[in-house]
């Protein structure tokens, strides 16, 4: 439809909307750099941005492979946790008794700091293998995805169900044609949260021990030997990869749920 074509004008307008944010970012970096010089801040407290960038560049051959190693763990946990969350929500939505029994527990579980279990997961699964990090990332992703998916699946209007029943549609058809599409915007909201949690889970999991190929282990060991520039450069890599995963989910959402009110062309 013509309403979806992006005119050059709208691209220009979107670019202009970014200008204030970029200006603030550049200013903050400048203040950071200037403050360290002005107040003689020790580099172990806060390295200069230029020092971080040079460590980021000089050690790119160590940092990026480590980042990629951790990113794969996060991605695996994200996929497992999200699919598990959607599957669990589907089951709970279908069998109300199951929901009544499990939902209070799930909501309570969602409120506990699951990341605190990271050392336990390292003990359960081999701490040196990616599996333990995938497990912690997966569990972190599971709860928000399940709770949100369930909310989406049950937010279908009674009229929509009556309409489908008037066509003598089966429960499976109603799920596929109505419940799941209705839940999609809710699912994507949860996936965006989960994408951030997955990266946190993987990196923090590695702080408690992991392979020397991993980014979390690298950040921790560099901090221990007071090589703070490299530790910060590692955090920068983790941030960039986290943002990349988030953006990938957000762009997929835009393509898949164009009908949702927040994605409609104005």
């Amino acid at each position: 439809m013509s309403s979806y074509t992006i005119t050059p004008g709208s691209v220009g307008r979107q670019a202009r909307e970014w200008v204030p944010a970029i200006a603030v970012f550049v200013l903050a970096i400048a203040v950071w750099q200037g403050a360290i010089a002005a107040f003689h801040i020790q580099q172990f407290l806060l390295p200069k941005p230029t020092a971080i960038v040079s460590a980021f560049w000089d050690q790119r051959h160590t940092l990026w492979p480590a980042g990629w190693y951790t990113f794969k763990e996060a991605l695996g946990g994200f996929a497992l946790g999200s699919l598990g969350g959607i599957a669990a929500a589907t089951l709970i939505g279908r069998f109300r008794a199951l929901g009544n029994a499990l939902m209070p527990i799930a909501i309570a579980a969602n409120a506990i700091p699951i990341i605190a279990f990271a050392p336990i997961f390292n003990a359960w699964f081999d701490p040196l293998s990616p599996n333990s990090k995938m497990a912690i990332a997966g569990v972190l992703c599971f709860f928000p995805v399940m709770v949100n998916t369930l909310r989406g699946l049950t937010s279908v209007s009674p009229r929509q169900i009556e309409l489908m029943r008037s066509y003598a549609a089966s429960d499976l058809t109603i799920w596929r044609r109505v419940r799941f599409p209705t839940a999609l915007p809710f699912i994507f909201t949860a996936l965006k949260v989960a994408s951030v949690l997955a990266m946190i889970g993987a990196v923090v999991g590695e702080y408690f021990g992991g392979s020397y190929d991993a980014l979390g282990v690298l950040i921790r060991s560099k901090a221990q030997i007071l090589d703070f520039q490299t530790a910060w450069a590692g955090i920068l890599v983790a941030s960039l990869l986290g943002i990349a995963l988030y953006l990938a989910v957000a762009l997929t959402e835009r393509a898949v749920v164009r009908w949702a009110p927040e994605n409609r062309p104005s």
């Binding site: 029943r165 003598a168 109505v178």
Partner: protein, 268 residues
């Protein structure tokens, strides 16, 4: 009227266990082919419940309902009726054309046959150029026309309508009343039409069934002998006013059952 019974309702009673409400008590009603029957009454008179009992969306506590000579459940399975609600119940992720085509997809029609019928239906409701739009890009009146097109797409013998124009402004409502009548005459289907509006019921129907609440009962039936095709002028004829008054009197006679605000709502 050919005299074939499309809907037969025999001593139907419906009680809801929650609050022990008797929504319908001992309802008998028969609709023949080509009739346009309105169910009118104050809130709580069971008119929407009766519509859903006909559509087998609610099971009666007692009594029987047949549609096209079959039990209501079987008729629903055979796609013997289409239904239109007060809100259009369109799916936001489907285009207008795909919304209209949904029942045809569920019936397993192939793509080409589906497209041909959807195009016909779009013409019927005068939305020919809006097939590729999304529902949320249309006005409320247009959305309701899409909903009607969807209900009629598979040519059901019976059309059930639950206050379809209740949420629209007066002008849109009167225009859609005229459109609905022309569609009904073209397709010669049977219509059950639930409404709050006396003037709408009289203008559209061949018969108006007046219902009263607590428990839901039929208070009376008014035959509407205004000739078709009905036009804007129909609303200005003395006979039209006489029938509107007759329906209003029937509703008022049952006034002892009404709450004060319901009575106020009826004296438009």
């Amino acid at each position: 009227m050919t005299g074939v019974n499309v809907v037969e309702i025999q001593s139907v009673t419906k009680t809801f266990p929650a609050g022990n409400v008797t929504a319908l008590e001992n309802i008998d009603l028969t609709l023949t082919t080509g009739e346009f029957v309105s169910l009118i009454g104050p809130s709580g008179c069971g008119k929407s419940t009766l519509l859903r009992v006909i559509g087998d969306l609610i099971e009666p506590s007692a009594g029987t309902v047949t549609v096209n000579g079959k039990p209501a459940k079987q008729a629903r399975g055979d796609h013997d009726y289409g239904i239109v609600f007060q809100d259009s119940v369109l799916f936001d992720w489907r285009t207008v054309a795909k919304n209209i085509g949904l029942p045809l997809e569920l019936l397993g029609w192939d793509r080409a046959k589906r497209k041909q019928r959807v195009d016909e239906m779009l013409e019927l409701v005068e939305l020919g150029s809006f097939g590729e739009h999304y529902p949320w890009q249309l006005s409320g009146g247009m959305q309701q026309r899409v909903s009607i097109a969807r209900a009629l797409a598979f040519e059901p013998a019976l059309l059930l309508m639950d206050e379809p124009f209740g949420a629209l402004d007066e002008m849109t409502r009167e225009r859609l009343n005229l459109e609905l009548l022309s569609i009904w005459q073209k397709l010669a289907s049977t219509v059950v039409f639930v409404t709050h509006s006396i003037s709408e019921a009289v203008f559209l129907s061949t018969r108006v069934v007046v219902m009263s609440p607590r428990p839901g009962r039929i208070a009376g039936v008014v035959d509407i002998d205004l000739p078709y095709p009905r036009t804007v002028e129909t609303r200005e004829e003395p006979r039209y006013f006489a029938l509107v008054t007759e329906v209003r009197e029937l509703l008022r006679k049952r006034g002892e059952h009404l709450l004060p605000e319901e009575e106020a709502a009826l004296t438009e």
